[in-house]
């Protein structure tokens, strides 16, 4: 278990502004945020490589705030892995075991077992310089795991890999983590990586956690505009919340009104509709059965992305909606540039945002 309480720190542009966080044992927690949001700083505070100005850090139930890194029971994998270049892969993995007083023979045996666990037993006697990015990543992971840490701290563990390797190594990382009991804290700047890896996640900005929750929650119900943009919810719109005879609705600047599922206090609001929630149909039809918002428009742009396509629909009055469709849906809707279409989405998919905090 990792527990961070009211952690504060400031050094130049990097600051932590009272961060509190709990990662349970066996949980895989992903912390995302843009560059400079303080993710790495937070991770280094948990490691003990940075001394926080105030606040507490606990690992495995023990307060480690005043302990140096070697006594904290962490397994740390920094950006770019930082394998010791003067040692072989096995020696890298043995490093922490030897410092714990194991004999060379016992350390070697455990290092080999750990290397087998991450699938690179054959590379034990190679030097890091000769390894591919994915192999280096696994070697660094083995080095961090070999000491059987309470807390596994991973700084951008997948960022330096090419797309194909990233997917395979990410799956491997989750599997290896599930076999142990460590609390994993994984820092990255990519919301898709968060969605693929996390049991729970947090979005960080300006040294604060803006939202904590399951990846699905964060993707579907971003708390603020910043989170919405960070997770690429794309359709961020402004309007006024109000009520009419049928329930809660949002009135856009041009007078059109949209149904929402949940009531919001009356007044100006920002809200978001995810591109995946928007269905398209040819003019005159509606792709969704049951109560739905439907807005007519013309297809302005089609951006094919392989398994999906992004369709930008111009609804007039400055309103543009981005829909993400599978090739089959796209064909059914006849979504080609210049065609008239109807964009529809459920009231429950209209998600109202809270105002952004400063920072």
């Amino acid at each position: 278990m990792i527990r961070v309480d009211g952690l504060r720190y400031r050094a130049g542009a990097f600051a932590l502004d009272g961060v509190s966080l709990e990662v349970r044992s066996r949980e895989y927690f992903v912390l995302v945020g843009p560059t400079g949001s303080g993710k790495t700083t937070l991770l280094e505070c948990v490691c003990g490589l940075i001394r926080g100005a105030s606040g507490r850090v606990a690992i495995g139930g023990a307060d480690v705030t005043g302990l140096e890194p070697r006594l904290r029971g962490v397994g740390y994998m920094p950006q770019e892995y930082a394998l010791f270049p003067h040692q072989t892969v096995a020696e890298n993995v043995m490093f922490g075991l030897l410092r714990r007083g194991l004999s060379r023979r016992e350390a070697r045996r455990r290092a080999e077992a750990t290397l087998a666990r991450v699938g690179i037993a054959a590379l034990a006697d190679r030097r890091p310089a000769g390894l591919s990015g994915g192999e280096q990543q696994r070697a660094a992971l083995a080095r961090a795991l070999a000491v059987e840490p309470e807390a596994l701290l991973l700084d951008e563990p997948l960022s330096a890999l090419d797309d194909q390797t990233r997917e395979a190594v990410g799956r491997e990382l989750r599997r290896v983590h599930r076999e142990g009991r460590a609390a994993a804290l994984h820092v990255c700047h990519n919301f898709a990586e968060m969605a693929a890896m996390a049991d729970r996640a947090a979005v960080m900005r300006g040294g604060r956690l803006v939202q904590v929750g399951s990846p699905m929650e964060i993707l579907a119900r971003p708390r603020t505009r910043f989170v919405a943009e960070f997770v690429r919810a794309r359709n961020v719109l402004a309007g006024r919340a109000t009520r009419d005879g049928d329930g809660a609705c949002l009135v856009l600047d041009d007078g059109r009104s949209l149904r929402t599922a949940a009531a919001t206090a009356a007044g100006p609001v920002e809200f978001v509709i995810r591109p995946e929630s928007i269905a398209l149909a040819p003019a005159g039809a509606c792709a969704l059965a049951g109560p739905a918002n439907a807005i007519g428009g013309t297809v302005a742009e089609v951006l094919p992305l392989g398994s999906t396509a992004e369709i930008l629909v111009d609804c007039g009055g400055g309103l543009q909606l981005l829909a993400s469709l599978s090739p089959r849906e796209r064909e059914a809707a006849g979504a080609e540039p210049g065609r008239a279409v109807v964009a529809s989405f459920r009231p429950s998919d209209v998600h109202v945002l809270e105002p952004d905090e400063a920072g």
Binding site: E44, C47, G48, L49, E68, P69, R70, R72, V74, G75, Y76, P78, Q79, E80, A82, F84, P85, H86, F95, G96, R99, R100, R143, V147, L153
Partner: protein, 274 residues
């Protein structure tokens, strides 16, 4: 990622002229020294070289040169490694002043150092106490090591600092999470990775110590069989009119220095900063 230096782009006339000028400067510089040393070699009579090699006084000077300079290397590295690491890793008040003092001996006229040492050990209470009751320095081989150390330690300190700068602190951070304190991270990670730079620093210390003369002449004198090193020999022989003998000794030093430099270059080639 890594572009070979022999990887040449397509060059026009201007670029070829530019390269020609640069390589021309290199050629002139090298030719100047080759001519200089070639004259030395032709001027020397081999009979003089034989006389030098068998002369007990000069053998004593050679032996003194060798052991004092090696002792200086040991002492110099003993100071250069911790200082280079401290200057590379820590920020402390007065650091700029400390770094200036490290660089000072590199530009200091050697005679000034000899004079300062003489003044300290002969005129101050502290200096006299050290010299008379603890460790003799004035007109003593210990003084040779002291002069060599003060003149050359800076080279070792800077070499070690550069070598430690090339070791990513992140490696030590990982070592610290794996069970090392700062000292352990230094010992197990930084030191092995800075090894080649430190060895090169040691060779620089040796080369400078081996050739130094100015401060020795003032501070320890030139007593045959006691404080005379090879560079002092050259001065003594030359000022007593025996240019040929001086030249033969010079050739001996030149050969030793050349061998050392070749070793430095071989090491430098293997030393790849990370």
């Amino acid at each position: 990622m890594h572009v070979s230096r022999t990887h040449t782009p397509v060059e026009g006339a201007g670029s070829r002229a530019f390269r020609g000028v640069l390589l021309g400067v290199v050629a002139l510089f090298v030719a100047g020294f080759v001519v200089l040393f070639a004259v030395d070699v032709t001027y020397v009579r081999w009979a003089d070289v034989r006389e030098v090699v068998v002369s007990p006084a000069i053998r004593a000077a050679l032996w003194l040169s060798v052991w004092t300079s090696l002792a200086t290397v040991a002492l110099g590295l003993l100071v250069a490694i911790p200082m280079g690491y401290a200057l590379s890793r820590y920020r402390f008040p007065g650091q700029a002043f400390a770094e200036t003092m490290v660089d000072l001996p590199i530009i200091l006229p050697p005679l000034v150092l000899g004079l300062s040492l003489l003044l300290f050990f002969s005129r101050t209470w502290a200096g006299k106490t050290i010299d008379e009751s603890w460790v003799p320095f004035t007109y003593h081989p210990n003084g040779i090591i002291l002069c060599q150390f003060l003149m050359s330690a800076s080279l070792g300190i800077r070499a070690a600092q550069i070598a430690f700068d090339a070791v990513s602190p992140r490696l030590e951070h990982v070592a610290m999470t794996l069970g090392c304190g700062r000292a352990g991270a230094f010992w197990h990670v930084a030191l092995p990775l800075a090894r080649r730079g430190i060895v090169a620093g040691g060779i620089l210390i040796w080369a400078r110590s081996f050739g130094i003369f100015g401060p020795l002449f003032i501070f320890v004198g030139a007593v045959r069989f006691r404080t005379e090193v090879l560079s002092t020999t050259i001065h003594l022989e030359q000022s007593s009119g025996r240019d040929e003998v001086a030249m033969a000794v010079a050739l001996l030093m030149l050969a030793l220095s050349a061998v050392t430099l070749v070793v430095v270059h071989l090491l430098a080639r293997r030393y790849d900063p990370r």
